[in-house]
Symmetry: C2
Subunit: 165 residues, 2 copies
């Protein structure tokens, strides 16, 4: 596409254009080429950097959680010592402590228990058994065999339940 | 910068160049501009995609570990029931089970205990106390107060130790 402004001075007899019109187009061409080369280099660097950061970021996400679990592991080892020494009261207290600590770490990570008090919901429940239960509306959850959990929006594990039919 | 090949035909009297020389430069300019615009669009899309993927990736890294911890939480809840019912043998066995399960999950995530059988190493040990110990070479670790852990190359927590002086 020829810019009409730049070819205004064309001599219709000779098919020639002023030299400065050519110089102006060449300047534009060179500027675009320069921008193109800079952008290519920038894109290359960006690609390399994100690849490096992506690996580091995955490692960090796991690392934060592992670090939070160290005190849980410590408490558990203390409970283990109490178990070996048959100190029942200490062992019981230890298990309660460990459970609370682990549940807290997981709750901070976004874990939440799936509700089971109501109608069976195939999106979050898995029916292991359906049986008639007197006085209970069909389709209700009557027993939880294994708790279910979600992490944010995602179901990590459905609740395994018995359903009234 | 003017390409000498394209200005070969310049008329020295009028300072004019052939029209086809101008057209050739304009074609180059337009091609560079087109490439530049395409690359900009591609770069923009890449930037947006990596930002989305990066958030999703962090979530997934944490999610895999949380999912592996669900059976540990289950075992712990069974141990808790045994504790409430004062079934000591079951409780002890439960605590051992939970400990093994948690230690396995963490080992798979890359967690390793920091060695403490040897000389004090300030990179991985923290000296809580230094005391003379008969028959022990100064600078040796003589007792571990709290275990230390590394995750891959990184020290998550130094081992807290007593050092002979």
């Amino acid at each position: 596409m020829t810019d009409p402004k730049l070819t205004e001075g064309t001599d219709p007899k000779t098919g020639s254009v002023p030299e400065d019109a050519l110089a102006a187009v060449e300047k534009e061409r060179d500027e675009y080429l320069d921008s193109l080369q800079r952008l290519k280099a920038e894109f290359d660097n960006f690609r390399k950097r994100t690849a490096r950061e992506s690996a580091a970021q995955s490692a960090r996400a796991g690392e934060a959680l592992v670090k939070e679990l160290l005190p849980v592991l410590d408490d558990l080892e203390r409970a283990l010592v109490a178990a070996e020494e048959h100190e029942e009261a200490k062992l019981e207290e230890g298990v309660r402590l460990v459970h609370r600590a682990l549940a807290d770490v997981l709750a901070r990570a976004g874990l939440a228990e799936i509700e089971t008090d109501g109608a069976f919901d195939p999106h979050v429940h898995e029916a292991l058994l359906a049986q008639p239960v007197e006085g209970v509306e069909p389709g209700s959850v009557v027993e939880v065999i294994q708790k279910g959990y979600r992490l944010g929006d995602r179901v990590l594990r459905p609740a395994r339940v018995v359903v009234a039919e």
